[in-house]
Symmetry: C2
């Protein structure tokens, strides 16, 4: 296990990264973590793709918040993704703000932070950087790529873009395109950021205050979509926050208000507002089938050798089962060996980050079978 | 039919309005419209309750936007609510901004706009003002009270507070309490308004710019909840706005973005940001059963003589069928004669404002039967 701070490396220093939007980027710094050791034939690497506001600190404490890694439940010695057996890599996505180049980084051409001059990126651009990082780490082929939510979108783009580098892939609570409702919620979040006068057209870096209020509102809106109506009711209902009766005022009378305000105010300490704009934009632009004349199955034709697993949650209304099932059906049609399961859960989209024995059983079984199919024992580090 | 400007009257000038929050208010201006004529025995009055951002201009052009009345489809000569037969009244709710006293009104004690000094109100407070208006208009008993969404909440409070003044009641796409998710979305909207530096703790009236950006974000967020995921997909999908390919920028590339921005920017021309805070708060505070030790049926016991009709829409996720059905079940348990129907619709919550032959048939049949039960012919004006 390395230090919580993780590592940083510089990629695309000689040959620039060519982006889907037509721009190019050079160099690209990448913040990443690794856990476990790469085995002799470099066949035990697992790449973990993080979600929108996630980061590379999968199983280490977050350097800003000090909180445990976001998937420490799943990743570690003896755990579901066993770092005694696998060499686990996770990197901060392109456009983010925790070590990887994004709008807060310095534009080498001007010597100033990029701000809105940073090129708009796509999920596939994020994956291109991940592939280059694996080159640097000496990993030609991944035993597995895995991720939930936006992480799952990256998994799908791995399958379309680098199928030859994959042995297996797990996409959880995700989609191959953003729907109108997905775009709508993201647009509200972006408008909330842009409405903050401290945003200053994205050039707020330096001494100026950050657009924290706008970013907090964006986070609050998004957070509602991460929980099911049922989960909100069970968790908070109409319970009051530290009072017996409503205040007949605009304080956070209800626990759910207090919770959302807390989510908003803590988020701004660890995230850059422009990164939020860029990453939500990348997600909105995702529509894999559009590159294949609307035939999603064609996207996965070159991945027929990759063992895939798709998992959805019954109460997830952000990336509902139907979107996940659409992916599984397309894989089936493309001859990709795919396991699909909808897991009953009351927790909404956030379920992918929470305790779920069914998900664990599904992933555990899948990892075991994939290892067996690779013809290696799992433990080879 | 009267002029589109409607009427205004002053109520509670001598005896102040006692509010649920403990404060009192005097006087209370009320903006209202009437259509048709009251008959000799004052037995043909219909009161229409409007929704959160609605107004009294049910069937007349809006004085600011110039648009047709919000329910002109339903209310008018020969229409479902036939103004040749019925004397229709609608008033701007307490706390709003189109003729009725609200936070933008002048506080008589200070000579300045109330702002956040305006007392927090409830749905029942709105209904108290409506009842006083009907006293002024010489209407002791309503043939019918009808409303959708927040209008339906007022209908339910009419039933709890003035059952003796009702012959029949229709509540559409509504609820007897706000859920955690309902509160959450409203809280995000309020935080968006309050995050706008032009809001100035509610004292933005006068020469200062209004908190338009914050209010627009609030409206955008709310608007998403008014449409079903399916409706957004059918209406917009991933269609682009006046372009062939995405811009790789932060313009409104997608039609759904353009639509939401338009909804936000036009809303601020006709609505006061503080009114938005107060009215959403009133809705969040709604929890009728809490006044009856959690037994909603007890709320309707005094209304056993009132013919009721509850209508929900299958794709409404803001006030879903289950919330409407809960009301109907409680009415049943209280011995209230109630008809309930869930109407199949892809339009989400907004369905109550749209063309719906099934809803029309339901309301039409209900009105006819209620008139018959009253022992009058419908046409008595």
């Amino acid at each position: 296990m390395q230090t919580p701070e993780g590592h940083t490396t510089t990629l695309f220093a000689e040959e620039a990264l060519q982006l889907d939007g037509g721009a190019s980027l050079s160099p690209v710094e990448v913040g990443y973590t690794t856990y476990g050791a790469l085995n002799a034939d470099a066949s035990n690497a697992v790449f973990i793709c993080h979600a929108l506001t996630g980061d590379q600190f999968v199983a280490s404490n977050h350097p800003i918040t000090g909180k445990s890694g976001w998937w420490v439940r799943t990743v570690g010695p003896g755990k579901l993704i066993d770092t005694d057996k696998y060499f686990v890599v996770c990197s901060n996505v392109l456009g983010s703000c925790l070590g990887t180049t994004g709008p807060r980084s310095v534009n080498p051409a001007t010597g100033k932070p990029w701000g809105l001059e940073f090129p708009v990126i796509t999920i596939r651009d994020m994956v291109r950087v991940q592939a280059a990082l694996l080159d640097r780490l000496g990993v030609e082929k991944l035993f597995m790529v895995i991720g939930g939510s936006m992480g799952g979108m990256q998994v799908l783009e791995w399958l379309t873009t680098y199928p030859e580098r994959l042995h297996s892939a797990v996409a959880i609570a995700t989609a191959a395109r953003h729907t109108a409702q997905n775009i709508a919620f993201h647009e509200v979040g972006r408008q909330a950021v842009m409405a903050d006068p401290n945003w200053k057209e994205g050039q707020y870096y330096g001494a100026a205050p950050n657009p924290d209020k706008g970013l907090a509102v964006a986070r609050m809106t998004a957070h509602i979509t991460y929980l099911s109506e049922d989960a909100l009711t069970k968790k908070f209902g109409r319970n009051l926050q530290a009072r017996d009766t409503v205040s007949f005022g605009f304080d956070a009378d209800f626990q759910v208000e207090s919770y959302l305000r807390h989510q908003g105010s803590t988020f701004v300490d660890r995230f850059d507002a422009n990164s939020y704009l860029y990453i939500t934009r990348a997600m909105d632009y995702l529509d894999i089938s559009s590159r294949y004349s609307g035939r999603l199955a064609d996207a996965f034709k070159a991945a027929a050798h990759v063992r895939c697993c798709i998992i959805s949650f019954s109460s997830d209304w952000l990336y509902p089962t139907i979107e996940n099932k659409t992916v599984a059906h397309a894989m089936n049609a493309a001859g990709v060996p795919v396991s699909f399961a909808e897991i009953e859960s009351p927790h909404g989209h956030d379920a992918f980050l929470l305790e779920s024995p069914e998900m664990d059983a599904m992933i555990g079984g899948f990892v075991g079978a994939a290892a067996k199919a690779l013809g290696t024992s799992e433990a080879t580090s």
